[in-house]
C-alpha cells in the first residue's frame, strides 16, 4: 500500500520532457540546435532554464541578446506559474515532448512579467507561500518561522532538495488537533476553453488554430495576449486569470469537503452533469484525482511547493 508520504515524493520529482527550439526569426550567427531538458513540474521556468539560455545565446550575436522568454503555440509562458500548471493547462493533450519556442526579442510586455533575476522568482514564491499560510493559519506558522527557515524553503526548491524543503514545509501542513484541517484551503482554478474554428483578422479561416502561423499575422498582432489567442483561447486572462475564493475543508457538520464540493461551489461548469457527457478534465499534477477526494488531503499532499493547489480545467481530449 502506498504510503501518503510517497505521494509527496512523486509530486516533487515529476518531470516533463521538453524540447526548446529557437524562434525562427531570431538572427543567428551559427546554427541553433534544439535543446532537450526534463523540466521539474513543481519549479518555475526562469529558475531551471539557465542551460537553455546559454545554449541559444551561443548562436546569437551579442547585440541581439536580450531577456529570454518562452512561448508555446503562440502563447507566452508566464514564468511565475509553476511549470506543471503551464503544461497541464496548455499542452496536456499534446504528444510529448513539450515543444517550447525560445525568444530573445520583442518581449511581450502586456503578457509577461519581467524576471530580472532569481530574486524576482524568490520574492514571488515567498509571496505565494505567505498568502497560502494566511489562508491556512492566519499567517501564524510562517510568521513564527525565522528568516533562515524561509531561506531553506527557497533553497530547497531552487536546488531540488526534497528533504531540505520538507523539513520546514511540514510545519505549514500541520493544524491544531481540535480542528479537522486548515482554516481555508489555498487553491486556484484555471480554465482553458475548448479549441474551435475561429476567424482571425487578416488571415484565412483556420481549423482549430493549429495551422495558424505567426508569419501570417500582422506584426502588431503577433504574440497576442492569451485572451485573444485564437489557438488556445485561454479564458479570463484579462479579467480574472484564475478562480480563488475562501473555502473551508470541513463542513459545519464536521464532514470533510471533497474536490467535487469545491468545484460545485466555485466552478460548477467543470462538473459533468449526472446524465451528461464528460466535457472537462479536472487536473492536478497531470492526473485527475477522484472528485470524492477530501480537499484537506489534496491540500496536504498535492499542493505545489508554494502551498497552493493549482487546478486546471481542460477540455476532455476527443481521442
Amino acid at each position: 500500500m502506498t504510503d501518503d508520504k510517497d505521494v509527496l515524493r512523486d509530486v516533487w520529482f515529476g518531470r516533463i520532457p521538453t524540447c526548446f527550439t529557437l524562434y525562427q526569426d531570431e538572427i543567428t550567427e551559427r546554427e541553433a540546435e534544439p535543446y532537450y531538458l526534463l523540466l521539474p513540474r513543481v519549479s518555475y521556468l526562469t529558475l531551471v532554464t539557465d542551460k537553455v539560455k546559454k545554449h541559444f545565446q551561443k548562436a546569437l550575436r551579442q547585440e541581439d541578446v536580450s531577456e529570454i522568454w518562452f512561448e508555446y503555440e503562440g502563447t507566452p509562458l508566464k514564468w511565475h506559474y509553476p511549470i506543471g500548471l503551464l503544461f497541464d493547462l496548455l499542452a496536456s493533450s499534446s504528444a510529448l515532448p513539450w515543444n517550447i519556442t525560445v525568444h530573445f526579442k520583442s518581449f511581450p510586455e502586456k503578457d509577461l512579467l519581467h524576471c530580472p533575476s532569481k530574486d524576482a522568482v524568490e520574492a514571488h514564491f515567498m509571496s505565494c507561500m505567505k498568502e497560502a499560510d494566511a489562508l491556512k493559519h492566519k499567517s501564524q506558522v510562517i510568521n513564527e518561522m525565522q528568516k533562515k527557515d524561509h531561506k531553506q524553503l527557497w533553497m530547497g526548491l531552487q536546488n531540488d532538495r526534497f528533504d531540505q524543503f520538507w523539513a520546514i514545509n511540514r510545519k505549514l501542513m500541520e493544524y491544531p488537533p481540535e480542528e479537522n484541517g486548515f482554516r481555508y484551503i489555498p487553491f486556484r482554478i484555471y480554465q482553458k476553453l475548448g479549441l474551435s474554428t475561429l476567424y482571425y483578422p487578416g488571415t484565412m479561416q483556420t481549423k482549430v488554430g493549429l495551422e495558424l502561423r505567426e508569419r501570417d499575422l500582422p506584426a502588431s498582432e503577433r504574440y497576442l495576449p492569451a485572451y485573444a489567442s485564437p489557438v488556445l483561447g485561454i479564458k479570463t486572462t484579462t479579467e480574472r486569470p484564475f478562480i480563488q475564493k475562501l473555502f473551508r475543508p470541513v463542513a459545519a457538520d464536521g464532514q470533510l469537503h471533497t474536490l467535487g464540493d469545491l468545484l460545485k461551489e466555485v466552478c460548477p461548469s467543470a462538473i459533468t452533469p449526472e446524465d451528461g457527457e464528460k466535457k472537462n478534465q479536472v487536473m492536478i499534477h497531470g492526473i485527475e484525482p477522484m472528485l470524492e477526494t477530501p480537499l484537506q488531503w489534496l491540500s496536504e499532499h498535492l499542493s505545489y511547493p508554494d502551498n497552493f493547489l493549482h487546478i486546471s480545467i481542460v477540455p476532455q481530449p476527443t481521442d
Binding site: L113, P116, H124, S139
Partner: protein
C-alpha cells in the same frame, strides 16, 4: 467570520467614505466595479514627470477642481511650449493605483503600476529609485520584501500587505 477581520462589506463601506472625502478635496480617487461580479476597488491615476514634479499645466492633485488629469488631456496638442518643453511624452509617467480587498489576507491591498505615456512599463529599478527618501533605506534593505511584483488585472506591483498602510497614506509621495 467577517466580525473577526476587516470584512469585504466593511471594506466597501470605508471605501465609500474615503471616496466621498477624496471628492471633497479633489484627490482623484474613484470606485470601480469589477465586470463580472459585485466586487469593486478604488482607483486613482496620476501623472508625474520623471524628475519627481507634477506637470505644471495639470496642477497638483489637490488643486484640480474640474477633474483630475487624464491621458486624454495630456495627448491634446498644447500651444504652451513653456509647459510642454519639460514634459516630453517619454518622460511623463503615468501611475495607476488600485486598492483592492484581499480575501486571503482579509485586508485592503495596494496595487500600483507605473508606465510611460506610450504604455511601456517602468523597470523595477526605476520604481525603486522613485520611492520617497524616507522609505528608501527600508526598501533597499529588502526591495523584494517591500514591493512584490504581481500579475494583476493591469500588471501591477503590490505593496506588501503589512506595509500597505505606509504606502497608501500619501500616494503622491511614492513618486
Amino acid at each position: 467570520m467577517e466580525d473577526e477581520f476587516f470584512g469585504e462589506k466593511c471594506f466597501q463601506y470605508y471605501c465609500a467614505e474615503f471616496i466621498k472625502h477624496s471628492q471633497q478635496i479633489g484627490d482623484g480617487w474613484e470606485w470601480k466595479t469589477a465586470k463580472d461580479c459585485s466586487d469593486g476597488y478604488m482607483c486613482k491615476t496620476e501623472f508625474q514627470i520623471k524628475n519627481g514634479t507634477t506637470p505644471s499645466h495639470l496642477g497638483t492633485p489637490a488643486s484640480v477642481h474640474t477633474g483630475f488629469p487624464t491621458e486624454e488631456n495630456l495627448e491634446l496638442p498644447v500651444d504652451d511650449s513653456e509647459v510642454m518643453e519639460s514634459a516630453a511624452a517619454s518622460k511623463v509617467i503615468k501611475y495607476e493605483y488600485h486598492v483592492l480587498y484581499s480575501c486571503s489576507y482579509q485586508v485592503p491591498v495596494l496595487y500600483f503600476r507605473a508606465s510611460f505615456l506610450d504604455g511601456k512599463p517602468l523597470s523595477l529599478t526605476d520604481i525603486w529609485e522613485g520611492v520617497h527618501e524616507c522609505y528608501k533605506t527600508r526598501l533597499l534593505q529588502g526591495p523584494w520584501d517591500t514591493i512584490t511584483q504581481q500579475k494583476c488585472q493591469l500588471h501591477h506591483f503590490m505593496a506588501e500587505h503589512h506595509g500597505a498602510s505606509c504606502w497608501s497614506e500619501s500616494t503622491s509621495e511614492l513618486c
